[in-house]
């Protein structure tokens, strides 16, 4: 048996793998500039909040302003610990936003299921009626809610905020979840019925588990609505139940003076729980928001 003479390539030391060639066209300058501009637009304010939070008060107001601070300090964060009322605002925000999210998810899930999987008289009208409630200026609804809550003694309570926030989140959440439920094949429900499942089992054991991304997206949307609201929280909650947005404004924005560095420090700290929550749940959010967008 004669061995074949080794060819030149086999005797040569092992060559490094050729660099992978990128497929497709290289990114254009236009795309790079667009992404850069969008990045500055999105993160510029966040950067400015962070920089202001760590800048001494006297430097914050230097003219012209500086993009990069010359001195850094953590003294602005001391106001957080000196101001226990801010923790109360934070707790109020967490309570109100969490309960708003839960209530919204529960109510909108059942409503959306009804709209998506049942056909009954007045269904379409009801769907548009729900949507129509979004058309009213919220300030007008604020007055109505103020009157109603005043009459039933709900002013200055968590419930007043939770109910009002839920009122505003429900229409969009119902439509969002309906879009999600529409993508779930009816055959799945029929199969469950054949296996003897009732409506309760179908929605709780089949529909909701496969709709987790949609439910999380809905809950996050409702949570953000409750977390960010200013005017309803200011008007309906009263001083004891005030949430962070009016609480921070009330604490740091005065008649003649605004404590910008302390306000930015407080904003930075109280944003952290939400940012972390989003980082953990963002894949559900994206899946939930896009699920109903393309109906196959």
């Amino acid at each position: 048996m004669t061995a074949a003479p080794p060819d030149a390539t086999s005797t040569a030391p092992e060559a490094a793998p050729a660099p992978r060639r990128r497929r497709g066209r290289p990114p254009s300058w236009g795309a790079i500039v667009t992404v850069a501009v969008l990045g500055v637009f999105a993160f510029g304010p966040v950067y400015w909040v962070a920089v202001t939070a760590f800048t001494p008060t006297a430097d914050v107001f230097r003219f012209p302003p500086r993009l990069f601070p010359e001195r850094l300090t953590v003294e602005n964060f001391s106001t957080l610990w000196d101001n226990p009322v801010l923790l109360r605002y934070l707790a109020n925000s967490l309570i109100v936003s969490t309960l708003t999210a839960l209530l919204t998810v529960v109510v909108s899930a059942y409503t959306a299921y009804s709209f998506a999987k049942f056909r009954y008289r007045g269904r379409r009208s009801l769907m548009y009626l729900v949507l129509a409630s979004q058309m009213f200026p919220q300030a007008l609804l604020l007055i109505t809610l103020y009157l109603v809550f005043s009459q039933v003694g709900l002013l200055n309570s968590y419930l007043a905020l939770i109910l009002s926030f839920t009122t505003f989140t429900l229409p969009l959440c119902i439509w969002m979840l309906k879009g999600f439920f529409d993508t779930i094949p009816d055959e799945l429900i029929e199969a469950a019925k054949v296996d003897g499942a009732g409506q309760g089992a179908i929605i709780h054991r089949i529909l909701l588990p496969v709709s987790l991304p949609g439910l999380v997206a809905t809950g996050l949307f409702a949570f953000i609505r409750g977390w960010n609201d200013f005017i309803f929280a200011l008007t309906l909650a009263g001083p004891e139940k005030q949430t962070l947005p009016p609480g921070l404004v009330n604490t740091f924005l005065g008649e003649v003076e605004t404590a910008w560095p302390a306000l930015m420090a407080a904003s930075l700290v109280v944003s952290l729980p939400v940012v972390i929550g989003f980082a953990v749940l963002q894949r559900y959010l994206v899946a939930g928001l896009t699920a109903g967008a393309v109906k196959g």
């Binding site: 914050v60 230097r62 300030a139 007008l140 009157l147 200011l234 005065g254 008649e255 003649v256 003076e257």
Partner: protein
């Protein structure tokens, strides 16, 4: 139907809602259009528990001094309990209108003097005439708490919005004496501009949100602004004032896009020689400055007049305490009287918050007299301050905004001063038809 849900109240609340929808500029929409009718005097119902609604309870400078004053008062008046609900200053009037109209608010409330007529138009404020009678308030201060002849507010602090100069910059520019006339003022501004270094000679208001300051210049140039209830912002004096203001703008003696916050920032950095502010603005300027001696360089100056011998004119600024005619109103009125007239309270308020008293005895107190800035401010500015001409209208905020927008249009050359002010008069008059 209950009183709270009567058709009239519902309409009033809806009005307030529209105001909230476009908060700020349309503040006046929050108010009812009814006539001012205070609910008469107060009778003691024996209730000693009441709220004192105030933005001072949450502001860094005033929070602790106010808590101390309330603690002192409740300690001296057994059985009295005072809560201090608070709302942000910028949303304060809307919130109070809504709550007063809805019957939710009782007790005493701190008010900006500009808001008093708007709140009084709800008809829910108590007539405090008997409470104020015989007290030592100055006439000017007492007048700021009066609406349509009724005393619906007790003056807590009173000053004005006037010129503040940086003495060091003025000295460097060779301005040795305060300018007394408009011509001297212009000369001083040109001298400061000659210093270079990016110094704005006069950080006057040029943004819409504070351009109402021009009203004081309109007065200075001889316009009454409102004459026998008629708006006359396009008369000869007002047009002359705006023409002069535009000249300063065109010659860069005043800068574009400046509001009070910007002006304070410029002053704190030593980049402006003059600006206009209330007495409480000094603390904000000095606090944000790297120059620890800046406070000593700031000088309150009487507004220059058109001709020697004229009286300087300033827009009033101050706080009053009003009382809702409801349960606990008498106790709240007693508290308001003590807070505003008792020297032990007013002197401490001045010492800790820097806000001057409104009584003759309070102003004569040694602490006030020995404070050079406060004494000069009272003498040069507060003594010649007058209520804003539009404050009597619940739509005052909208009216001031219309005026400011038209003035700004003239400044940037979009219309002539005469055209701009004529449009302003027409639109402002339409608001109060």
């Amino acid at each position: 139907m209950s009183d709270q849900l009567s058709r009239r109240n519902l309409l009033k609340l809806l009005g307030a809602g529209v105001g909230l929808a476009v908060a700020g500029p349309t503040l006046a929409a929050c108010a009812p259009s009814g006539s001012t009718e205070s609910s008469g005097g107060l009778s003691d119902d024996g209730v000693k528990q009441f709220p004192f609604t105030t933005w001072a309870a949450n502001e860094a400078v005033t929070k602790e001094p106010l808590a101390a004053l309330i603690s002192r008062y409740t300690g001296a008046n057994g059985g009295t309990t005072i809560q201090t609900p608070s709302y942000p200053y910028n949303d304060y009037l809307n919130q109070l209108l809504l709550q007063v109209q809805g019957g939710q608010l009782k007790g005493a409330m701190q008010l900006d003097v500009a808001w008093l007529a708007t709140l009084a138009a709800t008809g829910k404020l108590a007539d405090l005439g008997s409470v104020a009678a015989g007290q030592d308030y100055t006439d000017a201060a007492l007048a700021l708490g009066r609406v349509d002849g009724k005393q619906v507010g007790l003056p807590w602090t009173q000053a004005g919005i006037g010129l503040i100069g940086n003495q060091e910059i003025l000295t460097r520019a060779g301005v040795s004496a305060p300018p007394r006339t408009v011509e001297e003022f212009e000369a001083a501004l040109r001298a400061v501009k000659g210093l270079g270094g990016g110094i704005v000679p006069y950080a006057a208001m040029t943004k819409v949100d504070q351009l109402k300051d021009i009203i004081a210049w309109m007065w200075t140039f001889g316009s009454p602004v409102v004459d026998s209830g008629r708006i006359v912002v396009d008369d000869e004096g007002s047009v002359a004032a705006l023409t002069w203001y535009k000249k300063l703008y065109d010659e860069k003696l005043i800068a574009a896009d400046v509001n009070r916050v910007d002006a304070r920032a410029l002053m704190s950095q030593g980049k402006a020689a003059f600006y206009e502010d209330a007495i409480s603005g000094r603390a904000a300027v000095t606090k944000s400055s790297t120059d620890s001696a800046l406070g000593d360089k700031l000088r309150p100056l009487a507004r220059p007049v058109r001709a020697a011998g004229d009286k300087p004119r300033h827009l009033a600024w101050g706080h009053v305490i009003a009382v809702v005619n409801a349960e606990g109103g008498a106790a709240a009125a007693q508290f308001a009287k003590t807070l505003t007239t008792d020297p032990a309270y007013s002197t401490e308020w001045f010492a800790k918050a820097g806000l001057p008293p409104t009584t003759r005895a309070g102003l004569a107190a040694s602490d006030v007299q020995q404070n050079a800035f406060a004494a000069a401010f009272s003498r040069e500015i507060a003594a010649n301050s007058s209520a804003g001409p539009f404050w009597i209208h619940p739509q005052f905020s909208q009216m001031e905004k219309v005026l400011a927008e038209k003035v700004q249009a003239a400044l940037i050359g979009r219309s002539s001063p005469k055209e701009a002010l004529t449009e302003a008069r027409e639109q402002m008059s339409a608001l109060i038809k």
